[in-house]
Amino acid sequence: MRKKVKTFRPTAFAFPYLTVTIVFVIVPLLLILVYAFRGADGSFTLNHFKDVFGKGYFSKIIDTVGIAAVSTVICLLIAYPVAFILASSPFNKMAIFALLFIIPMWINFMLRIFALNSLLGIIGIKEGYMAAVIGMVYDFFPYMLLPIYTVLLNMDKSYLEASKDLGANSFKTFTKITLPLSLPGVISGISMMFMPIFSSYAITDTMGGAETSVIGANIATLFDGNADNYGLGSALSFVLLLIVLVVVFLSTSLSGRSAKVKKVGKVS
C-alpha cells in the first residue's frame, strides 16, 4: 500500500523573500522596461534612448563614473592600510578598534552627511567636487573596510611564515602573498562602493554644490511631479542598469578567479 508522505520542503522558507522580490523588484523593473520603450501615445518608441545620448545625459553618466572611480580609489587607498593594521596583531586582539570604524554605519546616513557637511564648512572646504568626494569616501568607508579586514583577518598566517621562510622580507611578503590573497576582499569592497555611488545623489545634492551631481539626481528630477518624464527617466535607469550589470559581471568573474584562493585559505 503506498501512502503519500507529506514532507516539509525547506524551499518554503524562500516564499516570503520571493514575494517581496516580485512585488518590489521584478515588477518595478518591468515597469521601467515598459516606460523606457513607450511613447506618449502608448506606442513603441526608441526616442527616449535618443534623448539619453543626445541631451547631454550621457556625459553626465561619464561624469558619474568619474566621481565614483575617484571616490572608490581614494577610499581603497585609505581603507586597505587601515584594514591591514587592524588585522595584524596586536590590534586584531582588540576588536574595539575595528568597531570604531564600523560604528558610523549605525548612524543614519543623512545625519552623517549633514554633520560632515557642516564640519567641512567649519574647516573651510566649500561645497563642490572635493566635498562630494570626501562625503562619498566617508560614507562608504566601512563598506570598503569590512570585506578587506575580514579577508586579511582570516588569512592563514602560515602563508606569511612560509614566504618569510623562503627568503622574502616583509615588503616582498606583502606584495607577493598578502596583496594577491586579499584581492577577493578588495573586489567586494569596490563593488559595494562603486555601484551605489551612481545613485547616491543625496550626497552630491548636499555637498556637491551646483556643479557636482550624479546621474541619480537627474533621474530623480525626471520622475518628480514638475518634469513628469517617466519615459526618459526609465530609459536612463535602464542604461544605468546595464552599466551596473557589466560591472557586476566583471567583478564576479574576477573574484571567481580568486575564489579558489579563498577556498584553499579556509581549508588550511
Binding site: S163, D165, P180, V261
Partner: protein, 503 residues
C-alpha cells in the same frame, strides 16, 4: 670549526649531546647548538632552559605529546618565535636576532601552506626568485638566478619528490600527498643547511604516511642535509630517525638512538610514551639482582647503590607466557585477550600488578599462566625524584607556606618568617576530586601505573610539580585539590648561598 670549539668550551652540563653514530662521530660537528632556551607564552613556560646539540647531516626527530614544546622549538629555529632567554647557534653563529628570511633553514609546514594563487612551478620557484647568489662578476658581488637556472633547479626538485610533470598544475587540484611533496620541493630547492619538518605527515592517511616515511628517508640520504622532524608518533620517530629527542613539559627527557630510546628509556615518561610498557617500582638489591613484586630476579645492570629504589621497564613482547602455574617467575590469570593483527595482547593479573603481554599464541581469558622475564629484558631506570622538594616559609605556628598555599606542618625549631626546604614524600600527598577540598589546586599531567599504585605527576597553579603515589587512577588534565599530611613532611633550614633547589 674554530667557532664551535669556543662555544663548546662554555661550561654547560645540561647539554644533551647526541650520541655518535656511523654518520658522524666528530665531537664538535654540531650544525645547530641550542643553549639554555626558555620560552614563555602569556606567563606559561613552554620551553624550560632547554639545551640541545644537533649534528650535521643527521635525521633528528623531536618527539613528544602535544603541548610538550617540540613545535615551539622548531619555530624558534626557523625564526617565527624569539626565545625569552637563551641563544641558538647555526654553524656557530648566534641567530636569535636574525629574521627568518635570512636564516639558512627552510620549513615544511604542518598544513603545507602552499601559496594558493600560484601554480606548482611558481610555488617551488618562490624562494629561488628571491635568492641572491655570490658572483664575482656582478656589480656588488651578488646576482639573482636566471630564468633558465630557476627552471632547471625547480624541475630537479620536482623530480626528486616525484612530481616531474606537475609544474603547470594548480596546487588546489593536488591530493594531500602531492601537496606535501610540493611543500618539500619548495623547501629543499632553496638548498637549506637544515630542513625543518613540522609534523608533515599528520594530515595523510596511514598508507600514504608509510610511503612518505620511506620517501623522506630517501630524500635525506640523497640530499645529505640535516633534517629536524617534529612528530608525536613514536613509531614514526623510531623508524625514520638517526637520533630521537623525547620531550615533555618543555624539557628534553632523553636524546639517543631510536633503539636505545626503546630499549633503555631514561625515565618512566619515556618508557610510557615510547610504545606499550610495563613499568614497576623495584629495588636494586645488589649488582645484577633486582627485586620487584616480592620476587628477586637476575638482571644485567649494575652500578646502583645497594637497595636503591628504581623503576623497572619490561616490554610486553619480552615476556614469555606459558600455560599453567609454576613455569616462570610469576603466576597469573589472563584477564583479557585482544587480537592485534600479527600477535595477541593479553592482560595478565599477578599478585600486585597487571602485566601487558604480547604473544603469537592466544591465551584465552581466565586461563592460568606463568610469566618468565629474561635478565636482558629487564630495563632499569633511575628514579627521577624520590621526594618532592620545595622552598617555603614558616607562616605561623605549625603552618608552612609554599607552592601557593599554607599547609599544616609541625614547625618545631623554626620561627615565623624562616625560609625552609620542604621535603614531601610521594606518599604524603592526597588528591581530592573537589578542588576546594584541597589547600591548593593542580592539574594532573601524568599518571603511570607502577603495580599496586599509580605514580601521578601534578602541576600546581603556582607552576610547581609534585609526584604522588596513590592507589587511585587519575585522568590527564583533571583538576584536583592537594592535601598534604604534615606528619610525613620534613623541614630543613634553607640557605640560598649553599643550596640549589629545583623549586
Amino acid at each position: 670549526m674554530s667557532l664551535f670549539g669556543k662555544n663548546k668550551s662554555i661550561k654547560n652540563d645540561k647539554t644533551h649531546d647526541i650520541q655518535p653514530t656511523a654518520v658522524s662521530s666528530k665531537k664538535n660537528d654540531n650544525i645547530i647548538e641550542i643553549k639554555n632556551i626558555t620560552k614563555v607564552f602569556d606567563g606559561e613556560t613552554v620551553l624550560d632552559n632547554l639545551s640541545l646539540g644537533i649534528k650535521r647531516g643527521q635525521f633528528v626527530t623531536l618527539l613528544g605529546p602535544s603541548g610538550c614544546g617540540k613545535t615551539t622549538l622548531l619555530r624558534l629555529i626557523a625564526g617565527f618565535e624569539t626565545p625569552t632567554s637563551g641563544e641558538i647557534y647555526i654553524e656557530g653563529v648566534p641567530i636569535t636576532a636574525v629574521p627568518p628570511f635570512k636564516r639558512p633553514v627552510n620549513t615544511v609546514f604542518q598544513k603545507y601552506a602552499l601559496f594558493p594563487h600560484l601554480n606548482v612551478f611558481k610555488n617551488v620557484a618562490f624562494g629561488l626568485k628571491l635568492k641572491k647568489i655570490a658572483d664575482s662578476n656582478a656589480k656588488n658581488g651578488f646576482r639573482k638566478y636566471t630564468k633558465a637556472e630557476i627552471e632547471q633547479k625547480v624541475n630537479k626538485a620536482l623530480k626528486l619528490v616525484g612530481l616531474e610533470d606537475y609544474g603547470h598544475r594548480d596546487v588546489n587540484s593536488l591530493s594531500g600527498g602531492q601537496q606535501q611533496r610540493v611543500a618539500i620541493a619548495r623547501a629543499i630547492v632553496c638548498e637549506p643547511k637544515v630542513l625543518l619538518l613540522d609534523e608533515p605527515l599528520g594530515a595523510l592517511d596511514l598508507k600514504m604516511r608509510k610511503e612518505m616515511q620511506i620517501e623522506l628517508k630517501r630524500m635525506h640520504e640523497e640530499l645529505g642535509i640535516t633534517f629536524i622532524f617534529v612528530t608525536h608518533d613514536q613509531e614514526e620517530a623510531l623508524t625514520m630517525s638517526d637520533v630521537v629527542v623525547v620531550m615533555n613539559d618543555g624539557v628534553v627527557q632523553q636524546t639517543a638512538l631510536p633503539k636505545k630510546i626503546y630499549d633503555e628509556p631514561s625515565n618512566a615518561f619515556v618508557a610510557d610514551f615510547i610504545g606499550e610498557s610495563n613499568i614497576l617500582s623495584g629495588i636494586m638489591k645488589q649488582d645484577y639482582l633486582i627485586s620487584f613484586l616480592g620476587k628477586s630476579l637476575e638482571c644485567v645492570d649494575k652500578g646502583f647503590e645497594k637497595n636503591e629504589k628504581i623503576d623497572v621497564v619490561i616490554r610486553p613482547e619480552d615476556i614469555k607466557i606459558r600455560n599453567g602455574f609454576g613455569k616462570g617467575h610469576f603466576d597469573g590469570e589472563v584477564l583479557s585477550t585482544v587480537f592485534k593483527g600479527t600477535y595477541y595482547e593479553m592482560e595478565v593479573a599477578v599478585d600486585g600488578y597487571e602485566f601487558t603481554v604480547q604473544s603469537q599464541k592466544e591465551f584465552v581469558k581466565g586461563s592460568e599462566v606463568s610469566l618468565e622475564i629474561k635478565p636482558d629484558s629487564i630495563h632499569i631506570m633511575k628514579k627521577m625524584l624520590t621526594i618532592n622538594k620545595h622552598i617555603g616559609k614558616i607562616a605561623g605556628e605549625n603552618l608552612v607556606s609554599f607552592c601557593g598555599g599554607e599547609f599544616e606542618i609541625p614547625t618545631a625549631g623554626f620561627e615565623q618568617g624562616d625560609e625552609v626546604i620542604v621535603y614531601v614524600p610521594f606518599t604524603a600527598i592526597t588528591l581530592t576530586d573537589d578542588e576546594s577540598d584541597g589547600v591548593i589546586g593542580a592539574n594532573i599531567t601524568q599518571s603511570v601505573y607502577k603495580g599496586e599504585y599509580y605514580q601521578v605527576q601534578i602541576f600546581t597553579d603556582s607552576d610547581d610539580d609534585f609526584y604522588i603515589d596513590t592507589a587511585d587512577e587519575w585522568d590527564m588534565d583533571d583538576r584536583v585539590g592537594v592535601v598534604i599530611d604534615g606528619k610525613q613532611v620534613k623541614l630543613e633550614r634553607y640557605d640560598p648561598d649553599k643550596e640549589e633547589v629545583n623549586a
